[in-house]
């Protein structure tokens, strides 16, 4: 079983690395999408189908689109898309920051006693998931719902407000 897990992990990390190192910005965004698909594969391996498909739907469907639009609409022309070489000094700072964060993580992982035998994979059907969401975790769900609605309304106001009322025949 671990072979599959290792494979997925390797693929995801490789995709994420490619996303970071790519020269063409669009290739990076697409590699990012592939890494998100890798995360969905993790969920599938863990047996949580609902979360895996939700992850696929939301990240691959919507968020990658948002990132692509952001890249497209801000990019002035194609030259800006191909990022140039990273100067040495900035690369050094990047490595240092990464090392610090890595050290903290490693310390946390080392400190917690990991269970040797992997916990039995709980099979949660969609119905139970729904009941859980509506039951004990209802408050969290509603909070997220409100947050998303606010974001949506904010986007609408931003988009609608930005464009001056078009002269000439209103469609």
């Amino acid at each position: 079983m671990n072979a599959v897990l290792a494979l997925i992990a390797l693929a995801t990390v490789a995709a994420a690395a490619a996303a970071m190192a790519g020269r063409n910005l669009l290739h990076c965004v697409l590699m990012l999408a592939v890494s998100w698909a890798g995360v969905a594969a993790f969920f599938l391996w863990a047996g949580a189908e609902f979360v895996a498909f939700a992850q696929l739907l939301i990240y691959l469907g919507a968020i990658s689109m948002a990132v692509l639009f952001a890249v497209l609409l801000t990019g002035r022309s194609r030259e800006d898309l191909a990022a140039d070489r990273v100067p040495a000094r900035r690369a050094l700072y990047a490595v240092l920051a990464a090392a610090a964060v890595g050290a903290v993580l490693l310390a946390a992982v080392a400190a917690t006693p990991l269970a040797v035998v992997p916990a039995p994979v709980p099979s949660v059907s969609v119905r139970q998931l729904g009941l859980l969401l509506m039951g004990p975790h209802c408050a969290a769900l509603l909070a997220v719902g409100v947050l998303l609605t606010v974001a949506l309304i904010g986007a609408v106001v931003l988009a609608a407000g930005e464009r001056p009322e078009k002269p000439g025949p209103a469609p």
């Binding site: 002035r76 022309s77 194609r78 000439g168 025949p169």
Partner: protein
């Protein structure tokens, strides 16, 4: 910045997406539609500068079909120019022939027998039916209906073209009118076939309107699009259904009363908004009026000769002088201006092309609309490149 100043699209490895820097709107995208474009009714090019989707500048480029028609007209005899007038607006050859024949008859003071006048009115109204049906079909084809209305329009057009073929010998290049009447006479069988076509046409129009007029998508695509104010239409010299759709009451059949039109009772439909939907509806209502004229003319056609017996075929020489005569073609006022010095061929031969003159307002109609609208607006103006470029 006019198109000529913009450097041609250099095939450099860099961005071929030509973005025209314009401080106000950021990147403007310049898209050239045509001359080889599926929806521009022939070789016609529109260079549209887009801000996102909406058109900010639209420069029509034509002349690809220029065949030097008027200079050839000066070098060939009066009779030999007649077949070339079929090639002007190749959808309506009968009305082109009539306009040219009328000009030469006015120049040489020739009388036309009664039966020929009636036959000319019948053929002109058949051509109007044919042209407006074709237009409605093309308009829908441009707005995306995958060919169905166009095929129905062409099915009916074939019936009319069969009538032209059995009368003049050719479906579209009829070369049928002569100075002083028509080349051959219409047999009673032909008149019967024309009458049955006219009676059946009303049913076809009902089916056609059921498919189109009430269609919400078509209404959404055409109402309020390409609005032509009456003042601009009159000052730009626009004529024909495009002008009447803006509410200006100007139909040469009523204004000039040429031929035997005053004898027929028919009405001239007028639009109120002057948008693409009105132009489409005015043409459909005009078709219904043409059917009434056709039925009346077919009932009232007298006997007698179709050709003025004294008319000379060979060595025809018009009296010196100049004339401008015009008729209400399906696309607008088509006129011929001739100057004759008494020789076998005219000194000056000029055609007033309604398509070209109606085309001058294309940019005014398209500003503020999207690319999809420019195609529909161009379709509603109803141009034929043979007439635009001559």
């Amino acid at each position: 910045m006019s198109v000529s100043e913009i450097a041609p699209l250099t095939p450099s490895a860099g961005p071929t997406v030509r973005s025209v820097r314009d401080e106000l709107h950021g990147d403007l995208l310049e898209v050239s539609m045509g001359p080889h474009h599926p929806s521009t009714h022939g070789v016609f090019r529109m260079v549209a500068t887009l801000d996102g989707e909406t058109v900010t500048r639209l420069k029509p480029v034509f002349g690809y079909l220029h065949r030097n028609h008027e200079k050839i007209g000066e070098n060939t005899s009066y009779l030999s120019s007649m077949p070339y007038t079929d090639r002007l607006d190749y959808l309506c050859s009968m009305t082109n022939n009539w306009a040219y024949a009328l000009a030469v008859e006015r120049l040489s003071g020739q009388a036309v027998p009664e039966r020929a006048e009636y036959l000319r009115v019948i053929l002109a109204e058949l051509t109007r039916l044919l042209n407006h049906t074709c237009l409605a079909g093309f308009l829908l084809q441009d707005s995306g209906a995958s060919g169905t209305p166009l095929m129905y329009a062409f099915r009916e057009r074939e019936k009319i073209l069969d009538l032209f073929e059995s009368l003049s010998g050719s479906r579209m290049m009829c070369n049928f009118q002569r100075f002083g009447g028509c080349r051959t006479d219409a047999t009673p069988a032909w008149l019967g076939a024309a009458a049955s076509l006219a009676d059946g046409y009303g049913r076809f129009l009902d089916e056609f309107e059921a498919l189109l007029t009430g269609n919400e998508i078509l209404m959404a695509r055409t109402q309020g699009v390409g609005r032509l104010p009456a003042a601009l239409a009159v000052s730009a010299g626009v004529t024909g259904p495009v002008l009447r759709a803006s509410g200006v009451d100007y139909d040469l059949r009523k204004v000039d009363g040429y031929g035997v039109y005053p004898r027929f009772a028919f009405r001239v439909p007028l639009g109120a908004h002057g948008d693409v939907y009105d132009r489409y509806m005015v043409r459909v209502l005009e078709m219904r009026e043409s059917i009434r004229i056709l039925q009346e003319a077919l009932r009232g056609i007298p006997g007698g000769p179709v050709m003025d017996p004294k008319a000379k075929i060979r060595g025809f020489r018009a009296k010196p002088g100049e004339v401008y005569s015009r008729i209400e073609g399906p696309k607008g006022e088509i006129g011929f201006y001739l100057i004759s010095e008494g020789g076998p061929n005219p000194y000056r031969y000029r055609v007033r092309p309604p398509s070209l003159i109606n085309l001058t307002i294309l940019e005014d109609l398209c500003l503020g609309h999207t690319i999809a609208d420019t195609v529909v607006i161009l379709g509603s103006i109803d141009i034929v490149l043979g007439e635009v470029d001559r």
